[in-house]
């Protein structure tokens, strides 16, 4: 899809809205059994949660004595509604471009479909934000056309692949593009399930009045197809129970507001000057990063988003959006502290120094040490990163359409460790190294790595101060052109708010 420039704004809305919609859900004071309030202790001790808040796998509310009906606990599979919404998601942009904008590329005919089936696919040259954000977001709509009509994660998995193939072949007259297909489908799965679960977090079937209204609006913006379905099925009002898997076993979000300096080299002298920007970052750990890995897909996911300004151009307001969700896991040993895990990841980095986006599958060992909520707790990840498709800044491949990056698959490693000490000190150390072999763009291979250290001091459960330093480097080996080495450093200082609060 070539014309989805309206979508980047969604990411900005996404972060802000989550804070608006979910904060009250998790940070309010005590409420009756049917309330959304989660204390920090409840967050780390799922057994203390009200029945309907317990993680997936626990008996549903009806079975535990809750008298409220729970129509969302086992929703019927609505294939024709899902297929209709998949088509709707395609037809709205198609007809807008074909009939309102009269765009020649949207004039689809039997001949254009035949051409798209006959000729070779072509990598497209659109701008980074279009290909690496707008397409995956559109894919999330395909995914949620099924997910919000009664299908589970795996049953919804194929829908963005089918939807993307339909669009590439019959939604536009441009040649089908492999990068569009891969980004839309794999990215659509990751963003789709992430947004579906976030919207579940915002929704509350037991709420009434203005709170219910705000929750429904929040759920709608996070997952528009779900909001549409709830609206037309009359589910936006009336009281019923919430399905248990609408709430994770634990949740920990951090909103950082502060300042960032980006330097084009990583040294003490070079960071004296650089690009100064305000910076708004949001990180979320949904579910328990160890115990939930063996649960349903995305029972655990991590989300990171960052906006900064003033942006060098409008396409760079969204600096980062990453989501990594669990797929499956197997215990290592009998302690329960180490697991071999499979995950899927969506990455979008677009700041003054880094342009990288990709779809990945990760496999590796996740471990935990100490006890969450006690004096010492730590978690480590040692993951192998298989990049299905990665877009990396190119120094030589530039097009009039705005593409300035190379495409290719790759391999990498993602290592990270997080530490909580005595309820006050939080530290994160992470390393990401990726090798991308270009198959479209300049003849090249790109090696990128980023080493980051971040620390926060929590003055109380909700408020903290922090700083981070990141060193990024890229070495690009080109055939027929001089090689390029790029170095960058990021310094951040921020005030942090924990949502709903740090684990006690």
């Amino acid at each position: 899809m070539r014309s989805a420039a309206f979508l980047p704004a969604t990411a900005i809305v996404f972060t802000g809205l989550f804070a608006c919609a979910v904060t009250p859900a998790l940070a309010q004071g005590p409420r009756p059994t049917s309330s959304l309030a989660l204390s920090a202790q409840q967050l780390v001790q799922p057994s203390t949660l009200p029945a309907w808040m317990r993680p997936a796998g626990d008996p549903p509310p009806a079975a535990s004595g809750d008298t409220l009906p729970c129509p969302d606990c086992h929703p019927p599979k609505r294939f024709w509604a899902a297929a209709g919404e998949l088509m709707l998601v395609q037809l709205i942009p198609h007809f807008y471009n074909a009939d309102v904008r009269d765009a020649v590329w949207a004039q689809v005919s039997a001949q254009s479909i035949k051409n798209n089936l006959s000729y070779a696919w072509q990598w497209d040259d659109n701008q980074f934000v279009n290909n690496q954000f707008s397409h995956p977001y559109h894919g999330s709509l395909y995914f949620n056309s099924a997910r919000t009509n009664g299908y589970d994660f795996w049953e919804s998995f194929a829908w963005p692949f089918v939807g993307s193939a339909m669009w590439e072949i019959a939604g536009e007259a441009w040649a089908p593009a492999p990068n569009d297909f891969l980004n839309t489908s794999f990215g659509g799965v990751v963003l789709g399930e992430t947004l579906f679960r976030l919207s579940s977090l915002a929704l509350d079937n037991t709420a009434t009045g203005s709170e219910r209204t705000f929750r429904e609006i929040g759920g709608f913006i996070l997952d528009p197809l779900r909001g549409f379905n709830r609206l037309i099925r009359g589910e936006t009002h009336g009281v019923s129970a919430n399905p248990p898997d609408w709430r994770p076993s634990s949740i920990f979000g951090v909103l950082d507001v502060g300042y960032r300096r980006t330097a084009n080299q990583f040294s003490f002298d070079s960071v004296k000057t650089g690009i100064d920007q305000w910076d708004l970052g949001f990180k979320l750990a949904y579910g328990d990063a160890v115990t939930d890995l063996q649960g349903k897909p995305f029972a655990y996911f991590g989300l990171a988003a960052e906006v900064a300004g003033p942006p060098p151009d409008s396409a760079r307001r969204l600096n980062r959006l990453s989501a990594r969700g669990s797929i499956a896991a197997w215990p290592l040993g009998s302690s329960g502290r180490h697991q071999f895990a499979l995950m899927m990841e969506y990455d979008y980095f677009n700041n003054p120094a880094i342009e990288y986006g990709g779809q990945s599958v990760l496999a590796g060992v996740v471990s935990t040490f100490g006890e969450k909520g006690k004096n010492f707790w730590a978690q480590t990840n040692v993951m192998f990163d298989g990049v299905i498709i990665g877009a990396t800044k190119s120094d030589y491949y530039t097009t009039l359409e705005g593409r300035d990056y190379d495409y290719g698959p790759g391999l990498g490693a993602s290592l990270s460790g997080s530490l909580f000490y005595k309820h006050h000190l939080q530290a994160n150390l992470s390393y990401l190294g990726i090798w991308i072999h270009t198959i479209d763009g300049s003849q090249s291979a790109h090696y990128q790595d980023a080493l980051s250290f971040e620390a926060r001091y929590w003055m109380n459960r909700r408020l903290g101060l922090g700083a981070s330093v990141t060193r990024y480097s890229r070495t690009s080996d080109y055939t027929g052109q001089p090689d390029v080495a790029q170095d960058a450093g990021f310094l951040r200082a921020f005030v942090s708010t924990a949502i709903p609060g740090i684990p006690e």
């Binding site: 020649v104 035949k114 051409n115 089936l117 006959s118 000729y119 070779a120 009039l400 359409e401």
Partner: protein, 138 residues
């Protein structure tokens, strides 16, 4: 091989034969409505209904300017369609794909008799390219 698998295989072959294996290259003809406006300092070529065409079209154009401003209004979704421009000394000042709704320019060259070449290789779509003489700002 089960009966169903054989049926699917046979159907796939038929579909492939219908859509994928029958693409004889053609040349531009009356159906393509080729129109050329070739004036001093201004050149435009349009053609439509292009379907799997492989050909090369060469025009001579009087460009009094130092370079040419290019308006790309073409839509060529398949094949490879190149615009090649040479200045009065025969030096190549432009070589690029035909694009959709984008502006570009040639390198600076020697004013005079320029050569404009359209190279189509299994091309599909419609061509609309405008060249205008241009001068560097003072």
């Amino acid at each position: 091989m089960t009966r169903n698998v054989r049926l699917v295989a046979a159907a796939s072959l038929l579909v492939a034969a219908a859509v994928g294996c029958s693409n004889p290259s053609e040349t531009l003809g009356p159906d393509n409505n080729v129109a050329v406006t070739n004036l001093v300092g201004h050149f435009q070529l349009t053609a439509d209904n292009i379907q799997n065409v492989t050909t090369r079209m060469t025009y001579t154009w009087q460009n009094p300017g130092v370079y040419a401003a290019i308006q790309h209004l073409s839509f060529m979704p398949h094949g490879t369609t190149l615009l090649i421009i040479k200045d009065a000394d025969g030096n190549q000042v432009y070589n690029g794909k035909l694009l959709y709704e984008l502006d570009d320019r040639t390198l600076n060259g020697t004013p005079g008799e320029w050569t404009v070449i359209f190279s189509l290789d299994k091309s599909v779509g419609q061509i609309d390219v405008i060249l205008d003489a241009a001068y560097p700002p003072d």
